[in-house]
Symmetry: C2
Subunit: 186 residues, 2 copies
DNA sequence: CAGGACATGTAACAGGTTACATGATTAT
DNA sequence: ATAATCATGTAACCTGTTACATGTCCTG
């Protein structure tokens, strides 16, 4: 049930509608826990039933009404409870690894092209994360989070995780591309 | 439906029962696509119905009968079709990132302990992968896959992906631990 | 004699994905 | 006109997880 808690974290930082949450997920907490608007609406309803969040209907002119959600006392309790509890270490699930493992059973050149495509995709994500880092944490050039503390520090460290993960994917793709190319020419 | 194709790849390498496949997944292809025996049995049945695999009942003395599965002509066709098709780039889903983001809303020291626990877990996985590398690819010390080709090369590269991913997790945990510790003492 | 490996499964549930539905406003 | 953004949702389906069920053989 980690989506519940990811939403609670985001809503604690500031209240918002399901739609707004979906967009926040697209550009921050979703790097570690992606979710679509359908999932978010479903979980908001469930958490409303459980009393972890409350919502206020807000009329807007020119735009549809929205339901602005807030975390209740019970929700804050649930969040602190969950924060003290262990979570499963992340597991990787990458179809590209499966393809690579089967490359010699099909068109190895097509698999190589696919690796190149993934390389480009991961490089794009990496650039997005680095852009966020430059925008939100300009004081931290390469090494240091020395000047940060509390929530800001934690946000920075999460972003660093995203950067590291994408760097690692890109480097792996490069290794694979190089090895497969020199295999073909030798 | 990538579990289907992960199983097809593994079964093409050699035939086996559901139980055997489950154990193979635990120590090779499962690093990129984990699966439990329940999932594997379900998919084997589905692929049997679709005609992608066939099975033979094999009686064993002292042990339960087993169903040894093989990839059919149709299954090989499906596999080559899938190999030429794009797959989604991997997405990370790590509850630890969510926790870290929320650390200041609860017990930050408990979150730090959790990061240390994950660090140990990822370090253990890394050692497992390095052990496999030493055992199966002793000729490739640090830099090179120069001497490998075909299926062996691809298996090596997949393993390298696992090693890189775990190295990256460990390094991230170390960065987080260091930053959170120096935050507390300052 | 207890526990683990071997071997196959069912059932229920939780979580994630895809498709569809509606409808207004704003920008091109 | 057309597409994008804002805003909320339902329904069907697929995938993954957890718990349970059964029974043998081998090892300590």
């Amino acid at each position: 049930m980690a989506l519940d808690h990811a939403i609670l974290v985001s809503l604690t930082e500031r209240a918002g509608s399901g739609y707004e949450l979906a967009r926040r997920f697209d550009r921050s907490i979703g790097y570690f826990w992606p979710a679509t608007h359908q999932q978010i609406y479903r979980v908001l309803r469930r958490m409303g039933d459980a009393g972890w969040v409350t919502h206020t209907d807000v009329a807007q002119d020119g735009r549809p009404d929205k339901k602005v959600y807030e975390v209740s006392e019970a929700g804050r309790g649930e969040l602190t409870r969950w924060l003290a509890e262990p979570v499963e270490p992340a597991i990787l699930r990458d179809g590209l690894g499966v393809k690579l493992r089967g490359a010699s059973l099909g068109d190895a050149v097509a698999v190589l092209r696919e690796v190149e495509r993934h390389r480009a995709e991961h490089a794009t994500r990496l650039e997005v994360y680095r852009g966020i880092q430059r925008r939100d944490f300009p004081q931290c050039d390469v090494p240091g989070a020395d000047k940060l503390a509390g929530r800001e520090l934690h946000q920075y460290l999460v972003l660093r995780g995203g950067v590291r993960a994408e760097e690692s994917f890109v480097a792996w793709c490069d290794e694979v591309i190089q090895a497969m190319r020199s295999e073909r020419t030798s």
